[in-house]
């Protein structure tokens, strides 16, 4: 019997005694300071090299799809805000468009332009957050602050239009909540000017920066074939050399009338993804500027006379039966309801009583309007798409965001499925990090731009 040396006894069999390598298991997350999202990556390390990784998700699961089945079709809109909470407007419009496809209705021209403009502003916000946060994790804190400053300019625009910064609930089936506020175009162009200055500064700070390049170039590579096999879309696919963009391939709204490029890179590494996102922000601003220049004013109701009256006396007169001429009177709404006046509502919503709530003037000023309002709001009524199903893809900030809706003909969705654009990259994350150093996990995870709300639904 071989004699156990004291050293072997102390260290245990196999450890450092020629028993072969012993890999260490390290769990990164679910709450880790260098990860902006709740996710757990169980890594197996040989020294500092990742030899195996298992990604666990679901920490932010809140039954989005089940919740959507519980209320009316429009009740799902606030839930979609919380999918990708950095660019919630795109989710709103994607869901609304899927239901509109099911209903077979087409929104007004002005509404299409508004959706394009707001989607592009959201896309810039999303890319700013992604690039800013992932550079911060590499130590470039200044970039993060600059980018968040730029996002602030854009979020102010979003706040002007929707009344909120994050939980905007601005989309509606058949239109949007309110028209654009006065002076929106000028504010947007000014915000874009400031954003361009920030992007220019960031380019000078990062693009070509030795430290940044060392951490990004050649790291987190995913081949073109694997990117497609994992159904990855958006900036990650375009960084791998495939110019697929829903806005270009299958244009929706008015994207086919606007001039823009689909930036691509060919290396498929983190640096390529960074370059694609930086280029896309410029293209998004280009799209929004063109859309602002060509947005139609739409039919504006001009056939009223008399001075505007305030809502309270409007309602009083309605109650007393003095409704003659009331429907033609303009009404002074409080500033936070700006854009929801009758004429504005007509510009941005389809003219379909089965789908769109009547403007408040009509709901309070006429029995027809009130009945119309109730028929859409009451339990068991509401929007009732015909039996059938539809899938509508839009280009989200992270790739193809698809909504698959099934209707059984009732006032509630039978099934709402969201195809989350950041689930495929997370499914492929282990392919990007295995074989690399554990420190490379951080830039790769940043470039994937995981959004927990959308990933876990």
């Amino acid at each position: 019997m071989a004699k156990t040396t004291r050293r072997e006894f102390m260290l245990g069999e196999g450890s450092g005694t020629g028993g072969g390598p012993q890999n260490v298991h390290i769990g990164v997350g679910p709450a880790h300071p260098a990860m902006h999202g709740i996710i757990r990556i169980v890594t197996e390390l040989d020294g500092e090299t990742i030899v195996n990784a298992d990604v666990e998700i679901g920490y932010l699961h809140r039954a989005f799809e089940k919740d959507c089945e519980q209320g009316g079709w429009n009740n799902a809109i606030p839930y979609t805000d919380r999918l990708n909470y950095v660019s919630p407007l795109i989710n709103n419009f994607g869901y609304a468009s899927a239901v509109e496809k099911l209903l077979g209705i087409d929104v007004t021209e002005r509404c299409k332009y508004i959706r394009v403009i707001m989607s592009e502003i959201s896309r810039i916000c999303d890319h700013l957050t992604c690039v800013g946060a992932s550079s911060m994790e590499l130590g470039a804190f200044t970039v993060f602050l600059y980018m968040i400053k730029a996002r602030e300019f854009l979020w102010e625009l979003v706040e002007d239009v929707t009344g909120a910064r994050l939980t905007i609930s601005y989309g509606r089936v058949g239109g949007v909540k309110a028209d654009l506020p006065d002076g929106f175009a000028e504010k947007t162009l000014h915000a874009f000017k400031q954003t361009r200055e920030v992007l220019d500064e960031v380019h000078r700070l990062l693009t070509g920066n030795r430290i940044f390049m060392d951490r990004m170039v050649g790291v987190g590579v995913l081949s073109r074939e694997e990117t497609i096999g994992y159904a990855i879309t958006g900036p990650l696919l375009r960084a791998a050399g495939v110019g697929y963009d829903v806005r270009r391939a299958q244009p929706y709204y008015v994207y086919d009338r606007l001039t823009f490029e689909v930036p691509t890179q060919k290396d498929g590494d983190n640096y390529a993804r960074y370059l694609v996102r930086m280029a896309e922000m410029e293209q998004s601003m280009r799209i929004a500027e063109q859309a602002l220049a060509s947005i139609p004013t739409g039919p504006i109701n001009v056939d009223f006379e008399g001075r505007p009256i305030d809502p309270a006396s409007y309602v009083d007169r309605g109650k007393q039966g003095k409704t003659e001429g009331l429907l033609l009177l303009p009404i002074t709404l409080s500033p936070n309801l700006q854009g929801q006046q009758r004429d504005a509502a007509r510009r941005v919503n389809v003219d379909d009583k089965r789908v769109v709530l009547p403007p408040k003037e009509n709901a309070y000023g006429s029995i027809e309007g009130l009945m119309n309002h109730f028929m859409l709001i009451m339990e068991g009524y509401g929007i009732r798409p015909p039996v059938g199903e539809a899938y509508f893809p839009v280009e989200g900030a992270n790739g193809e965001l698809g909504f698959y809706v099934v209707s059984d003909g009732s006032d509630r969705p039978y099934r709402v499925r969201c195809r989350p654009p950041c689930l495929p990259p997370l499914a492929a994350l282990h392919r990007m990090i295995v074989g690399e150093m554990v420190a490379d996990l951080i830039p790769t995870f940043g470039s994937v731009n995981m959004i927990g709300g959308e990933l876990d639904r």
Binding site: H61, Q250, E400, Y404, G409, Y414, A427, A428, D456
Partner: protein, 162 residues
């Protein structure tokens, strides 16, 4: 609809039903033929569906008129980058035989998408090497997107084993 015609011609009875609703092409496929149809869609040059865009399921238990029929439909959304077209394939399965062959050999993304369908609907994917829950935890009882799962059901608390 050349795509649906082509599928019908090639697979005959295995294509149970086809539909063109609001521009979305749909084919309902017999379960035994599913992998063959999926592989054909991916590899045939005229179809070239190289992306499995989405994989999900629908529980038809409470759908008016379909309470008695096959309970689940597993839904595949395919997209072709080269040809720029889409196709929806569906497989109907019964509750007591909720099994579908796994498409993992064709597209690696099927791994997570099938785990999610198993998690949410309890449909098994045969040949999947690692069919764990994806979004929920292993101790979760039931499959929440089934129509007979009440939204307010409480799950037993779990914690470290004592």
């Amino acid at each position: 609809m050349p795509i649906l015609d082509e599928l019908r011609r090639r697979f005959g009875d295995a294509i149970v039903e086809t539909e063109d609703h609001r521009g979305d092409l749909t084919a309902i496929v017999a379960r035994d033929a599913l992998l063959g149809v999926l592989a054909h869609c991916r590899d045939e040059a005229a179809l070239a569906f190289d992306v499995l865009m989405d994989l999900t399921a629908v529980d038809y238990q409470k759908f008016p008129g379909r309470e008695d029929g096959p309970r689940f439909e597993v839904v595949y959304h395919l997209y072709s980058i080269a040809r720029n077209h889409r196709l929806r394939l569906k497989v109907r399965v019964d509750e007591d035989d909720a099994r579908v062959p796994s498409a993992l050999g064709l597209w690696p993304i099927a791994n997570w998408l099938e785990r999610e369908v198993w998690d949410m609907f309890g449909v098994r994917f045969e040949g999947h090497p690692d069919l764990r829950r994806l979004l929920l935890y292993e101790e979760f009882i039931g499959h929440p997107l089934r129509k007979d799962y009440p939204i307010n059901r409480r799950q037993p608390l779990i914690g470290p084993a004592s």
